[in-house]
Symmetry: C2
Subunit: 186 residues, 2 copies
């Protein structure tokens, strides 16, 4: 991966995109010894229920802390995909929750995963969809070590939900473990 | 307040500075209809246990999303005060948790509140210190409407802790309600 890796996590309010961003940032800082800036912007559009978190991971000091063109977008809603789906690098990853996202812009590397459906049917808790999504993107890209993201999830999820969220994370992590990046044209 | 208001919340890991930043940002975006960017940076220093969250609140679009010189610093640890205490505007607020902060740099407007002690003795839960701190800074500055910060706290704290966190917030909010800003030279 190039020195600077820009991740955007986008969905609707209540899907836990901000928590997912914080967990990914902590995993990168503590587990991979990287410089990280994690942010969320709110504006008038926040009233519409959209939610977006950004994570910039770099070996160098991060001078400009916003995503310009994402190396990876996780879109958990159709609105998020419509809004940010075109701001992904040509060779970047566009990962969508196909439980909610039906239309995807033309892109070389689209990964469709029924994240919310897995949360509901396999984990039994729809609220874990954000953590499954985290697992999927880390499993695909290895931007942080698996052990680091597991630790960060356990540090940050509410007490009493560590086990189910760890289970959700691992479901995501294992989904693409044996996949070669080239298979997807990314 | 000028158009752009820069808040830095700093303490040690586990004091909940990031959650406090997210809550303040949501209150400003949803309750005050402002543009907001909320961020945290992690680097090698994150290993040391320091924790810092930043919130920029503006009527205009926010082009540069990092704190340059804070309009308000909430320092919940001595290390945080040592590190960021001099990066406060001359007429800005330096609010310290005097349960942990004993040395403060020379500054026109220092507010000392025994935040952690109040959390422990008055609220009965030391973990609510971050929310008391939020109440203190909003009560002092009115950067967001009180109703908005109450709502944001209730949206974001873990289930089962809404009541105690609301109580903590109000303890902070009421502490300086009748104080005139001029009294502190700010």
């Amino acid at each position: 991966m190039s020195d600077r890796f820009e991740v955007r996590l986008a969905g609707t309010g209540g899907q836990g995109m901000i928590l997912a961003g914080i967990i990914l940032a902590e995993a990168a800082a503590l587990g991979a010894d990287k410089n990280v800036v994690q942010s969320q912007s709110y504006g008038p559009e926040a009233r519409g229920g959209a939610s977006k978190a950004e994570v910039i991971i770099s070996d160098e000091q991060i001078d400009y802390p916003k995503v310009l063109q994402a190396d990876l977008l996780l879109a958990m809603s159709q609105e998020a995909c419509d809004k940010y789906g075109r701001d992904v690098k040509p060779q970047g990853w566009l990962v969508v929750d196909e439980s909610h996202v039906k239309r995807v812009p033309p892109h070389a590397c689209v990964i469709r995963v029924p994240i919310t459906q897995i949360a509901e049917e396999q984990i039994g808790r729809i609220i874990t969809a954000n953590i499954i999504g985290l697992g999927v993107i880390v499993g695909l890209t290895n931007i942080v070590p698996h052990q680091a993201i597991i630790q960060a999830v356990q540090n940050r999820v509410p007490p009493g939900t560590k086990d189910i969220n760890t289970q959700a994370l691992k479901a995501g992590l294992n989904m693409f473990q044996d996949t070669r990046r080239e298979q997807y044209g990314c």
